[in-house]
Symmetry: C2
Subunit: 412 residues, 2 copies
């Protein structure tokens, strides 16, 4: 059984039309008109395959191909259809369409699995709207409660809870739709890599072993704000001088002292008062560290904090550090990884075992099921931008690996 390149291309291109910012990337927030139209298309396509479709009370869609033994736990595949603002056509959609195509091919080939096989379309994965990334899978797996949706407010002051209600859903009923351990045997998410590794290596498929954990540490450097013209160099306590000396060592610390899997980024810097002719008295920046190995995160944290102390001591500056958030690394199921490898090898598809630096809905699903992920290459690593691009041929190859694994997993 092989997936069909033309259908994959047609589906992704069709879905891309439902976009609130045409000409400036793709924007499709959850619970909007664009979202509604894509949902309609997908449920119609699922119904054509005879799937039993359900929309849960917060908007996650599930489409079930009944297995020979309905008492066995389902095998699940899917991803999301929402995008960031001015994003691309592939993030999320590639995984939903690969799952749909895999089920189409099973149906065409009159393959009836032992376990039921489900497509899942998670709601609100990106999170820029309600500031609640992975919202759909977080609620579905019980990591957060429906109550939490009332605190996730968009820029119009509307909560995700209210928005779901306006969209015709009834979040209060979610209790009966939660996924618990034992409901799902295994889940696989195909997703674009959103980085350059597969594209650089010209390998069409990544099989993901683990997703990195993440720590955010806010570092505040305090000096004296003063007149930039009137204050001689030797009398200054310039917070930018301290912050720049600290930030400039983060990349070296990460590459030299931690692991190949460790990444560290200072993506947010705020300088006060941020006026060219005033010596900044305060700089606040966020150090983000990610690794699939918690030890890597701890090494960078410790070394950067040591450097904060040394630099501030030398420059007579003060500092405060605060841990803003932490997520644990997710190690995917060895069983599912082995099945994915076997599926690729059976089809002579070249693959790379790799890590995910980002979190995906699959990471939440690993709370309740055996989970694996397939990555397909992002051209030049671009994602969350209009330039986001993945070759349809690569998605097709990834979908073939997914299909093979779903067949294997759904057969006793």
């Amino acid at each position: 059984m092989k997936t069909n390149l033309e259908r994959i291309k047609r589906d992704i291109e069709y879905i891309s039309k439902f976009n609130s910012t045409p000409g400036d990337g793709t924007t499709r927030f959850s619970y909007t008109e664009e979202d509604k139209k894509v949902r309609k298309y997908l449920t119609e396509e699922m119904k054509k395959l005879g799937l039993h479709t359900t929309v849960d009370p917060i908007g996650n869609i599930r489409g079930k191909m009944e297995g020979k033994n309905p008492l066995l736990p389902s095998i699940m595949a899917g991803s999301h259809i929402d995008t960031v603002e001015h994003g691309g056509n592939f993030d999320g959609v590639a995984g939903v369409i690969s799952a749909l195509e895999a089920l189409r091919v099973m149906k065409e080939n009159n393959f009836t699995p032992d376990h039921s096989v489900e497509i899942v379309v998670f709601v609100e994965e990106e999170g820029p709207n309600f500031n609640f990334p992975l919202g759909g899978s977080r609620i579905m797996t019980g990591a957060y409660s429906v109550e939490d949706l009332k605190n996730q407010i968009n820029s119009d002051g509307v909560s995700m809870y209210e928005a779901a209600k306006k969209f015709g859903l009834n979040p209060d009923n979610m209790e009966n739709y939660m996924v618990k351990k034992g409901d799902i045997k295994a889940m696989i998410e195909l997703h674009i890599e959103q980085s350059v590794v597969l594209d650089e290596l010209k390998i069409p498929v990544g099989i993901v072993k683990a997703a990195a954990g993440r720590k955010w540490i806010e570092i505040e450097i305090l000096g004296d704000s003063n007149h930039a013209g009137a204050t001689p160099m030797k009398f200054r306590r310039d917070a930018v001088v301290g912050a720049s000396k600290i930030i400039s060592k983060v990349d070296e610390i990460t590459t030299e002292k931690a692991f190949e899997s460790t990444v560290a980024t200072v993506g947010k810097i705020d300088c006060f008062p941020n006026i060219p002719n005033v010596i900044p008295g305060r700089v606040v920046f966020v150090l983000e560290i990610r690794d699939t190995d918690k030890k890597g995160i701890e090494i960078v944290k410790k070394e950067v904090e040591k450097n904060v102390e040394v630099v501030c001591d030398k420059l007579n500056l003060e500092y405060k550090t605060k841990e803003l958030s932490e997520t644990e690394p997710v190690i995917f199921s060895n069983k599912v990884i082995t099945i994915l490898e076997q599926s690729a090898e059976d089809q002579n598809i070249k693959y790379k075992i790799m890590n995910s630096g980002a979190l995906h809905d699959a990471c939440l699903m690993s709370r309740v099921a055996d989970v694996g992920m397939i990555f397909v290459p992002s051209i030049k690593g671009r994602s969350h931008c209009p330039e986001e691009l993945t070759n349809y041929e690569d998605i097709k190859v990834g979908a073939d690996v997914l299909l093979g694994a779903l067949v294997e997993l759904s057969t006793i």
Copy 2:
């Protein structure tokens, strides 16, 4: 002749009451109710001394004590009464009140100068309101035209030109009130130092030799904005890494390669998109360099730009540099400096010959007259903030130096 400490204290404390942000520093913008009340007080005090007062069409106040020979050019002293938002009580006001007090003492002592002696109160020196620092002296000396006032807009969308009109002035008449070469023989401005030098050395008076010139260079570092979790360290083009390595060397370059008079500051940094989990694709910062010696400015500029090239080359980043603005250093009059030194020495007042890192109205006046400046200590160098403080005793000592110099300059 000696100035009177109590009167100086009383005047400054009285003026400080006219403040639109009581309890949170002093805020007194030009053309406001607070400004109007201080103007009223000052002109009344001038009239008590028999001064002939004029308000020019943009709001600069001049109060003239007629000399024995009205054909001789005037000697002038003064400063400004506007403040930054949440500023202090001394910046500007100290110089206006010192000049007023000097004329009071002359009058009390029945001293009639040969040259007329004038107090000047410049309008809109600080500039945060209309983004037009030194506005009053710039227009008075012809460095800018009244037309330029139409382009200086405050946050309510009102131009300085319109605001002056609403305040009852008629800027279009300014032509007849300009100060030209030959109108003023000499001008002296007493001002708080706004830095730590005098306070650290415990010297009550600075005699200013020169005011630093200034260059603003905008440096833009360009890399690739990418997912901070998904992009391995070796595949990154992180603009913050480049910018931090450049900024972290600015202080060393300045202290090791330029002069003691050179200062360099990075006070403004903007990072894009400024989100903790996105590798910044763009960082823009402004390098400000000041020195009384242009060579110092050029050394830092050249060395920093060389480092921009080296860093960006090594990290595969792109960059753009743009000179935003430049002002020339101002060298004050040797004649006036000598008279100020003599005045201090005659009164056994300890002084330090020093430079000004900031520009003042006096710098503009040097376009048309012989100019000198007196600095008095700023406690801990604080200025433009509620903590701004100068001991009244030090202002009195500075006013005595001013008085002595005005007497000398106004006598043939």
